[in-house]
Amino acid sequence: MPARIPEPSRRPLLAVGLGAATVAGVAGALAWRWWHRSERAEISPTRGLRAGAAVLSLAVLLDSGIEHYRGSFENPAMVIAPTLALATLGMTAVEDRAAPYVFGAALAVGAAGVAFHSYNIGKRAGGFDMLNLFYAAPLGAPAALSLAGLFGLAAEHPDVAKPERVAPVAALALLGTAAEAGLLHFRGAFQNPFMFAPVTLPPIAAAATAASGISPLVAKAARPLLLGTALLGIAGPILHAYGIHRNMGGWRNWSQMILQGPPLPAPPAFLGIALAALGALPALERTR
């Protein structure tokens, strides 16, 4: 076999990647400034968790809404996930006594979702083979709802949700999300080099975050990595939108490609988790 087989045609990948990164960077910077609009208002663990829960809820709302629509809401229970995600999103925006119950429900329903998706895969022809992991109900996705609930609950209990506890949980969540991105990008054969980004940066950021309790130095190192991960969460939908454009019919064929193309609302999960982790960092950067 020749060392390199010539490609019959090419696309301007680098331009697209740099473009997406630039747009995401500008959007991220603007958001960051808006968030820090009150001078010196340091990002607190509570604010980080709450923001993380909000972003995760929004992502789950859109993602499960679209994916369960693809599944034609065949099982009536499929409306629960987007409904609950909407509720958790609401609870992150307003103060309400019902919040702990909603967050708790999200935590439980997410776990049940994982179990239900596993059961579904298991009964398909092929069982837990790669094909079903690629195309059947995703194993990891419902965990994002649990995570939204967990972050929401944690934000209500700063005494329990201490930074040194939030960090490893966020790290684990980052790893899980990276694993899911990895699985789906493997399904796409990493055809675009930027598809490697979510399987490289977030795991490193996760490692640094998990270890940030060890020393303030590590925590300081975790910050840029988490900021990068957050940016990925913003750049992802832009790249995925380009991916839809790359499919047959492009955006004109949106009614198919919103379902079959790369999922628009999936990448912001990285943003949500990174925000929660970033909230925990200042305390960890100061300790000792």
Partner: protein
């Protein structure tokens, strides 16, 4: 296609850019009197692939095709009846006890050849088939081994970005397919379910259609019109893979150019060929001629090129040109499911079992077969109902309303190479004044036993999957052999490199080289052979073994 294309597109220094509607790419062109290194007749799996390999190796190449140069994005309609120009529909006579249906069933016309309308199944031969006589005790050995072809299988798969399962359950351990398998449609799930219930392995089919973007080519959208031409460029036909590569490497593709005769010099070497384009016969000079017109047009051209020096036709001193033609037998079994199947969606064959290609116990026949899930469109389905059950009238119309619940399986079944199954010239002539081919085919007893066995297996799988009211039909697919390769000049037309024994600068590079048919679709093996022949020619040229 919504407009008939009758004029050549590839000329005056440019060729259609298949990736962009209305666009062109620069193409190096050659004058007729300029003696090129290689003139290739045919641009399909054999000729198109070889054109790229030879051009990339630095040879000057002109490849001829009798049909048009499509731009699939703008030329192809989503319609069963409007895509007829994809097929070789010049008159041919088909006879024997089991006459082969030609045309849309197995014969392409146009740049890219039959790969433009094939079902994209990309399976390797079972390694032992290359030594069928010595290892399995039937038919004959190929003049090369699986080991020699394996790197070229890999090259072909890489070149086509085959979408396949992470683990393929049959054959030798292999590198991972370049792309992941496609999701399965209900028709494929029927095969999977049935196979699991009777305890035989199954797999998603490795397919030459993209499961993720590649350059300018879109991934598959599961529109289901694959065998009527892919309008999205997801299908990795030779038209959108090796042809653009060939042109970029300096090859010229001459579309709408029917080659009628290979011309011979006094020294016993071919000097070039006569071709018909824009209503006129032209003469292209070439140092080497490669015939890649598939199992009917290749022997037809060799026979039609008979001259005083070679009165039986070229490379035919032993009378073997045109003989040992094979097909794949294709009985199918169909049944009605409780679930809606709607197999018009997605590529027609998404699941396969090669169990009976690799598992020889209990067979009362030699050879093997694979079977795959089916996905006919309405016209094709109506033809199946006519052929198998003789339905017409209101009975047919009413039966057709069950279309969305039908599921079926069909084999790709090995047939034996027999001398009386062959291509000859009829006395009739075609629109160019060339004698048309007469094709004769009859199944052997072994072929029939294989088909019966396969019907039993398919019934078992379908029944286990829950299908009711089963019935079977007969069909066939593919063409193989007719100019077989071998080790012995007495017993074959070419050597393992496709070089004819009697004319040192005349080569064959297509499915007609196959000494046996195997039980899988042939295109990947044809393309692997073409990749190998390309490398062999380049190596021989370096050593000064091409002559003159």
């Amino acid at each position: 296609m919504f407009e008939r294309i009758t004029e050549p597109r590839a000329r005056d220094g440019r060729a259609p850019d298949v990736f962009r509607p209305g666009a062109w790419m620069p193409m190096r062109c050659h004058a007729d009197e300029e003696e090129v290194d290689f003139a290739i007749v045919g641009t399909g799996a054999g000729g198109g692939t070889l054109a790229a390999k030879l051009a990339e190796a630095g040879f000057s190449v002109v490849a001829f095709d009798a049909g048009p140069f499509w731009r699939p994005l703008e030329d192809f309609a989503s319609d069963e009846n409007a895509q007829g120009d994809l097929y070789w529909t010049d008159e041919r006579i088909t006879g024997g006890a089991d006459p082969i249906q030609l045309g849309s069933n197995n014969s392409g016309k146009g740049v890219g050849g039959s790969t433009v309308h094939y079902a994209m199944v990309a399976l390797r031969f079972r390694p032992e088939w290359f030594k069928a006589r010595s290892k399995l005790g039937y038919a004959r050995d190929w003049p090369l081994s699986f080991d020699e072809l394996e790197p070229y299988y890999e090259e072909a798969e890489e070149s086509l970005k085959i979408s396949g399962p992470v683990h393929y359950p049959w054959g030798r351990r292999r590198r991972r397919y370049p792309r992941r398998a496609h999701p399965m449609n209900a028709s494929a799930l029927v095969l999977a379910r049935g196979a699991e219930r009777i305890g035989i392995p199954w797999s998603p089919v490795p397919l030459a259609t993209l499961s993720a973007p590649r350059g300018m080519a879109h991934p598959c959208v599961y529109r289901g019109f694959c065998i009527y031409g892919c309008s999205t460029n997801a299908k990795q036909s030779v038209l959108v893979t090796f042809i653009p590569r060939a042109i970029r490497a300096g090859a010229e593709i001459r579309d709408q150019a029917m080659v009628g005769r290979i011309e011979m010099g006094k020294n016993g070497r071919a000097t070039g060929l006569l071709y018909h384009r824009c209503g006129v016969w032209h003469r292209q000079k070439a140092r080497h001629v490669v015939v890649a017109g598939y199992s009917i047009e290749t022997p037809r051209l060799l026979l039609n090129s008979a001259c005083a020096q070679f009165p039986n036709g070229l490379a035919n001193d032993n009378g073997l040109v045109g003989t040992h033609l094979m097909i794949h037998s294709g009985p199918g079994v169909w049944g009605e499911m409780d679930e809606e199947i709607r197999s018009y969606k997605a590529p027609p064959s998404l699941a396969v079992t090669e169990h009976w290609n690799y598992h020889d116990e209990g067979k009362d026949f030699h050879g093997g077969y694979a079977f795959m899930s089916g996905g006919p469109l309405p016209g094709g389905w109506a033809h199946t109902l006519i052929g198998a059950r003789g339905l017409w009238g209101m009975a047919l119309r009413q039966e057709m309303t069950r279309f969305n619940r039908m599921a079926g399986l069909r084999i790709v079944g090995e047939t034996e190479p027999k001398p009386h199954n062959r291509v000859e010239l009829a006395d009739e002539t075609d629109q160019y004044g060339l004698r048309i081919p007469r094709v004769t085919f009859s199944f052997s007893d072994n072929d029939r036993r294989l088909m019966e066995h396969s019907i039993g297996s398919m019934r078992a799988v379908l029944e286990a999957a829950g299908a009711r009211n089963l019935w079977s039909d007969r069909d066939s697919s593919h063409l193989l052999g007719s100019c077989r390769m071998g080790d012995d000049p007495e017993d074959s037309v070419t050597n393992a490199d496709g070089r004819t024994w009697t004319i040192p600068n005349l080569w064959v590079c297509d499915g007609s080289l196959f000494p046996t048919s195997g039980g899988v679709n042939p295109s990947l093996t044809i393309q692997a052979l073409a990749c190998r022949i390309g490398d062999r020619i380049a190596a021989m040229a370096k050593r000064g073994e091409l002559g003159r």
